[in-house]
């Protein structure tokens, strides 16, 4: 069964907020209607957003690391928000596993938001219905777009390609590969919600440079000393000088 999801690489996210703004732009002008802001230029602005990039400091000074954490709406395989909905407005699509809200059925009782440990759902203050990430469902199946554009808006916007999109139930997909080979993990696994979205952990990048990588040990010219030996101050050039 298909389960579409985002896989977010914390190792490359730079916290630029491009996914936040492009998500807002696409979804506020998309078929799902506006994501309303209230008091946008006032002292206490508030509004509906489907994703946020948060920043955490891990470790103790001076050994700290800054982790930018794009908080996403997880599209759980076992979504606890769906069975609690009294009207059936909240549902999970069988064909692709996207968890959606039917804005025409939602009564705005907020009960689903209580039943979500991730805080994935927000009540739109103006429309008074629950809203959540749709994985850009109005975009990924839009055949009028070129195939490269049929991806969620946030994925398209990410300048560092920190966001991958695909079917995590297809073992050959890029997202499955990333989860398998880069240690992808879900958030709050203790609740058994099996979020579809995964995160790839930070990785330490260390380069060990061996001496023979600076001075080529197997340089054939070095062996028979055919070329003149340059002075120590001159640059080393493989295949040109003897060392």
């Amino acid at each position: 069964m298909t389960q579409l999801a985002l896989v977010i690489d914390l190792n490359v996210c730079v916290g630029c907020q491009a996914c936040v703004t492009s998500c807002k732009e696409w979804n506020t002008s998309g078929s799902a209607g506006p994501m309303v802001d209230q008091n946008p230029y006032g002292a206490d602005p508030t509004g509906t957003f489907f994703n946020r990039v948060q920043t955490f400091e891990v470790g103790e000074f001076p050994n700290t690391e800054t982790v930018h954490f794009p908080k996403s709406r997880p599209h759980c395989v076992e979504p606890p928000c769906v069975p609690v909905c009294p009207t059936g407005a909240s549902y999970k699509r069988k064909e692709d596993g996207i968890v959606l809200v039917d804005y025409d059925k939602c009564i705005g009782c907020k009960y689903c938001s209580w039943a979500c440990p991730y805080g994935a759902r927000e009540l739109d203050e103006q429309q008074q219905v629950m809203k959540k990430c749709t994985l850009c469902v109005d975009r990924i199946y839009d055949m009028s777009m070129v195939e490269a554009d049929r991806k969620p808006s946030c994925v398209k916007a990410c300048p560092t390609s920190a966001r991958l999109f695909g079917d995590i139930h297809d073992p050959e997909s890029a997202v499955s590969l990333a989860i398998r080979e880069s240690g992808g993990y879900p958030l709050m696994p203790e609740w058994g919600t099996h979020p579809a979205n995964h995160y790839l952990p930070r990785r330490k990048t260390r380069i060990k440079i061996h001496e023979d990588e600076l001075e080529r040990a197997d340089n054939p010219l070095k062996v028979d000393r055919q070329l003149p030996r340059p002075a120590m101050s001159e640059p080393t050039l493989d295949d040109v000088t003897t060392w």
Partner: protein, 325 residues
């Protein structure tokens, strides 16, 4: 969680109404078995049911203020297979209907004998409606409480104690109200009802006390480590990603200092249990004023109790919203 007054009034008002109805039918059952004198059915059961109905309607009206789209409320009856909220929405009007019919049967003195129990006890429509209403009253208590108790993410609610306390607290306030009402309409039942009100109040003290002790010892299952999946003992949020408020910063936090929380807790511990108990016991011999005071104080205490019930519940999503920068 953010305590919504609509839900606080809904749960306390219908709880008192359910308790009141249970008290009426308990008295009727005792009277049927000649354990209590027969009161003026017209006044006590008839008007008592009307009082319960008024509370139920008031609760229902309060609940509509919780909805973003009240005009779509009829849709809530559709998902009763999975949602306790949906079940509550079905059981509440059913209970209201039965309370109405029960009151009507007494009001019109409609007591044809439908059948006779082995002991020679006649069964009239009000008895059958009473049994149906009792079942529905308990079903409604369970539905209302399970809305909260079924949410495993809110550990403070996710316990059988939630259901027990909704039943006991609703029962206590309902029986207290019934005792006060009997003082005005059926003085011969006051001692019986006030006695039961006192007993249920004491039981409720044990139930609520147990849940307070339990909640004080809870250890959150989710931590910042599991929330973002980084295994390090020291993680601090530097920014939640926005500087203004959002639904996530409003809905899941009561927004009051700890002192307020503590004050509300001690207020309800006094106003729901010992103070009404004092008035219930001193009003056992027919003091309408004393029993009415008992109910008013206990109901005010229950409003605080319900506020605290919501405020105390700590939602794991709050882990993501701890710092603005």
């Amino acid at each position: 969680m953010h305590p919504a007054f609509s839900v606080i009034f809904l749960t306390t008002l219908i709880g008192a109404a359910q308790g009141l109805f249970l008290a009426l039918f308990t008295a009727q059952s005792y009277a049927a078995f000649k354990l209590l004198p027969q009161p003026d059915a017209h006044a006590f059961y008839g008007q008592g049911s009307l009082l319960a109905l008024v509370l139920l309607v008031a609760g229902l009206v309060a609940s509509f203020f919780h909805l973003g789209h009240p005009e779509r409320a009829w849709r809530t009856a559709t998902k009763w297979r999975t949602s306790w909220l949906s079940r509550e929405v079905i059981v509440l009007p059913a209970f209201m209907g039965v309370v109405f019919l029960y009151g009507l049967a007494h009001w019109l003195d409609w007591h044809p004998v439908l059948m006779t129990l082995p002991g020679g006890l006649p069964v009239d429509p009000s008895a059958i409606l009473g049994v149906a209403g009792t079942v529905l009253a308990f079903a409604l208590f369970i539905c209302t409480a399970m809305i909260y108790a079924c949410l495993k993410f809110l550990a403070e609610w996710h316990s059988p104690l939630t259901v027990i306390n909704y039943i006991l607290l609703g029962g206590a306030s309902g029986f207290t109200l019934a005792a006060a009402f009997a003082a005005a309409t059926a003085p011969e039942l006051v001692g019986f009802l006030a006695g039961w009100a006192a007993i249920i109040t004491v039981l409720a003290l044990f139930g609520r006390g147990a849940s307070l002790v339990r909640n004080a010892r809870l250890k959150p299952k989710s931590t910042l480590q599991t929330a973002i999946g980084i295994k390090h003992p020291k993680i601090a949020q530097k920014t939640q990603g926005f500087m203004g408020g959002s639904f996530n910063t409003r809905e899941f936090f009561h927004g009051q200092p700890v002192a307020v929380l503590r004050g509300v807790k001690w207020f309800f511990l006094l106003a729901v249990f010992p103070v009404p108990l004092l008035f219930q016991l001193s009003g056992m011999h027919g003091g309408f004023g004393l029993l009415l005071t008992a109910f008013v104080v206990q109901y005010a205490g229950l409003l605080a109790e319900r506020w605290y019930f919501f405020a105390q519940a700590n939602h794991p999503q709050n882990l993501y919203y701890q710092s603005i920068a």
